[in-house]
């Protein structure tokens, strides 16, 4: 989306963000006085930046907007402070660690509940749970937390080697080192397979699940990671100021984090740090100007609203854009302005590219038994039994309202049937859900394109390739995904199969319609399915694109088991080995294209207005 992620290609790990951050941290305490701040300001900026790293992973990279991060900040802070004040331990590192772990545990609880809803309701829930912890803090737990007074007298940390409170710089270096590791980990994480899945979820969570990722588990994991960052930052706040205020639990704390991250730029990792610097620096500087001091937060609010409205990527986004304008004539990747001429002419097919996972034996792979779906009194699909043999290309046709889409969605486990069963290789898969069905080897491409728009073609195909390589959930956060040979092979194969090899580094949003359609099929293909479900693959295409797509599907179809729902009869008769005809939810015919063409029932179903071989 912005600077950091766009550097991640197959080319290798860019070291400059890590080195740049190290250089910045080394220089920062010497620069801050010129910005009107003090060393203490620098400490606070880094602390908020650390807090924001977790939030950026959650919101900037996964798209989960939480207004309850204060809960974790507060829990981490009060646990660490209590341990040191009581004192249970004199070891500040141990106290920080325990605080962080407990904040993460609270993250499991809040995340488990809040992630049951999405969008605005997720934001509402996190906000409400954040408030719950505030009330817990000031009332029932007041004997440990000091209630509205907070916890005073947190001892200054001493670590030897000049770290800690032995010198004014000691505290800074301590925080800077923790921040550096936090930054390094977050950077590794977004470059890992795990991070690639997070960005896919941000773009289109439904599709990420459809290619076989356990989206709820990924969301919960990143939520807990963000909570841990919050807990660590909260603990540091207590150490830093020798006092743990109940403000940590305030709604304003969560709000401040959101505002800082947006002002700095979400999805950049450095954005929260920049935002924190703007916030704390504005606060410090404006305080000294008579007449404006009281208005500083309103000014920030106005900046925030303007940035959200006109430049959602925040200050870092502005810098990246200006830099691109200055150095190149074309806008950066991810911008939709770029629309290169589509190459609709498909080059002659190369050698077969998709690996056949099994030899064609002709046994039944996918079967339905008396499958029905009722909506109230209406039977959308009525008692349909159907058997698909390995290596076969089967078309499902029928007039509008025949129940094709409903039937299809039941095959892909998108909607549960009212009655009947679905079997895959003899095993009942009726209620498994899309994620597990996809992991078993049934992949679906959608009638309306469901691609990851802000990712490049390569990054798009990487999402299903990771699902096939690592399974539905894999918390590998330190591996660099671009270096993963197994994943890269799968990406290349799928790209070749849908002829997008020379478009691999193009943002998906910039593709021509026909190319997007092919990418849609490619996403399903890259899961290396044993059964490929294609929902109107030529929908919305021009006749030329349509003919190309048929050729493409024919090649893919050689050696694959495919179910295709299609309106265009030329496509159907050009591809299918056998055809199933649905009418009013019931199966009225099944057989070879010739048999179907001659079938009087089928002609009657299409009501004579069109012969069956013409487009319906």
């Amino acid at each position: 989306m912005s600077a950091a992620p766009s550097r991640i290609g197959a080319r290798g790990v860019a070291w400059w963000p890590v080195l740049g951050m190290a250089a910045f941290l080394a220089a920062f305490p010497y620069v801050i006085p010129y910005l009107g701040g003090s060393l203490d300001t620098a400490n606070r900026i880094l602390d908020w930046g650390l807090f924001g790293l977790g939030f950026d992973l959650l919101f900037g990279f996964t798209g989960l907007l939480s207004f309850g991060q204060a809960a974790f900040f507060g829990v981490g802070g009060f646990v660490a402070s209590y341990l040191l004040v009581a004192p249970v331990t004199g070891n500040a590192l141990l106290a920080l660690l325990v605080g962080t772990v407990l904040a993460a545990a609270v993250g499991v609880f809040v995340g488990y509940l809040s992630l049951r809803r999405a969008g605005i309701y997720f934001a509402m829930l996190t906000l409400a749970f954040g408030e719950m912890f505030y009330f817990l803090d000031i009332s029932p737990l007041a004997q440990w937390t000091g209630g509205e007074n907070g916890l005073a007298g947190v001892p200054a940390p001493q670590f030897g080697f000049g770290f800690g409170a032995t010198s004014p710089f000691g505290v800074y270096w301590f925080i800077a080192i923790l921040f550096f590791f936090g930054f390094w980990f977050a950077l590794r994480l977004i470059r890992s397979p795990f991070g690639a899945v997070l960005r896919a979820i941000r773009d289109n969570g439904e599709r990420a699940a459809a290619v076989g990722h356990d989206v709820p588990k990924y969301k919960l994991t990143v939520f807990v990671i963000a909570a841990a960052y919050g807990g660590l930052a909260g603990g540091l706040l207590g150490l830093l100021q020798g006092y743990m205020p109940p403000d940590a639990f305030y709604l304003e704390t969560s709000g401040q984090l959101v505002v800082q991250t947006i002002i700095g730029g979400a999805g950049t990792l450095v954005g929260p740090l920049v935002g924190a610097a703007v916030w704390l620096d504005l606060y410090t500087v404006l305080q000294n100007i008579a007449g404006i001091g009281a208005l500083w937060k309103m000014i920030l609010g106005v900046i925030f609203v303007l940035l959200v409205t006109t430049f959602r990527r925040g200050l870092c986004g502005v810098v990246v854009l200006l830099w691109w304008r200055a150095t190149t004539s074309s806008p950066p990747a991810g911008s939709e302005a770029e629309a290169p001429p589509p190459s609709d002419l498909i080059p002659p097919p190369a050698e077969p590219v998709i690996r056949v996972s099994r030899p064609i034996t002709g046994s039944v792979v996918l079967a339905t038994r008396n499958l029905s779906k009722r909506y109230g009194g209406l039977a959308a699909v009525d008692d349909v039994s159907f058997e698909l043999r390995e290596g076969e290309v089967r078309a499902v046709i029928g007039p509008n309202g025949a129940g094709k889409s409903t039937f299809f969605n039941m095959l892909a486990s998108v909607i549960p049937p009212s009655a009947g069963t679905i079997e895959f290789k003899g095993a009942n898969i009726t209620d498994l859900g899309t994620i597990r069905v996809c992991q078993l080897g049934i992949a679906k491409s959608f009638q309306i394109n469901q691609i990851f728009r802000s990712l490049t073609v390569r990054e798009n195909l990487r999402v299903p390739a990771i699902a096939r390589t690592y399974g539905k959930f894999h918390p590998s956060m330190l591996k660099t995904v671009g270096h993963d040979a197994a994943v890269n092979v799968r990406i290349d194969e799928a790209a070749a199969a849908v002829q997008l090899t020379d478009r691999l580094d193009t943002p998906a949003a910039a593709l021509a319609y026909g190319e997007k359609r092919r990418l849609e099929v490619g996403l399903a293909l890259a899961t290396e399915p044993q059964v490929l479900l294609l929902d109107e693959p030529t929908a919305g295409m021009s006749p030329a694109e349509r003919a190309d797509t048929v050729r493409l599907l024919k090649r893919i179809g050689a050696g694959m088991t495919i179910v295709i729902v299609e309106h265009d009869m030329d496509v159907v008769f050009g591809l299918a080995d056998r055809i199933t005809v649905l009418f009013n939810g019931r199966k009225i015919a099944e057989g070879t294209p010739e048999a179907i063409q001659a079938n009087p029932d089928v002609r009657a179903a299409y009501l004579g207005s069109q012969a069956a071989h013409e487009p319906a």
Partner: protein, 266 residues
Amino acid sequence: MGLTVIFGALGVVNFAHGALYAVGAYAGFVTYEYTDSFVAAMAAGAIFVLIVGIVIERGLIRLYYQRPPEDQILVTFGIGIVLVEGLRAIFGGLNRNLPAPSWAASIVNLHVTLYPIYRIDVLVIVAVVLALLYVVLYRTRLGLIVRAGIEDQLMVNILGINVTRTFLTVFGLGAMAAGFAGVINAPIVTVSPDMGADVLVQSFVVIVIGGVGSFWGAVVGGLIAGEILSLAAMIDPAYSDVMLFAAMAVVLILRPQGLFGVQGRQ
């Protein structure tokens, strides 16, 4: 607590509602200072915030209908900050008091407990507003369009209805309700720039418990939340707020879409 029901029933709670509620309270407070009339204060609060709401919708929110929900949350949150800080800049951060109207300033003996008449009046006012709202939402053409627009904006647009204007109406109504609520609640709580935060959070809880976009869900959610608050306060006041959130957690575990919510609707 009854006030949150109004937000829930409208189904348009946004993150600026707490601030609009505070703006309404201040508008009422100022009007009362000049006129000494509580009725004038109520009218002024509602109308002033309606105007503020219309300006905000035309000026900003309008640009957001095509953007992801996260952006809408962010912008309403930002507007909330600006409004609250604006109040703080004009009126200062001190608490103000808006006295209950003279016709409601006495206390009634309910035998169980002494109860200020004003609180009973608020209950009556809320009930009347809810009844009005029900009639508008479920018995008029506008209500039908509003409900349809919440369900499927595109479809309503295709049917030739100006959804933009409908959304303006809904946003305006929501703002007006918030402003009105701010005034009638002002004698019970103290008037301060931050007074909206609690109401905002409680509205969210009511909506989550009752189910999104359900009129009866909002009513029942509000009643349940009110009961929990007062019952828990009787047993142990320290836990009353916490119990409210615990109830929300239980509903989320057992019925994520809320008591009256429709499954599948996010």
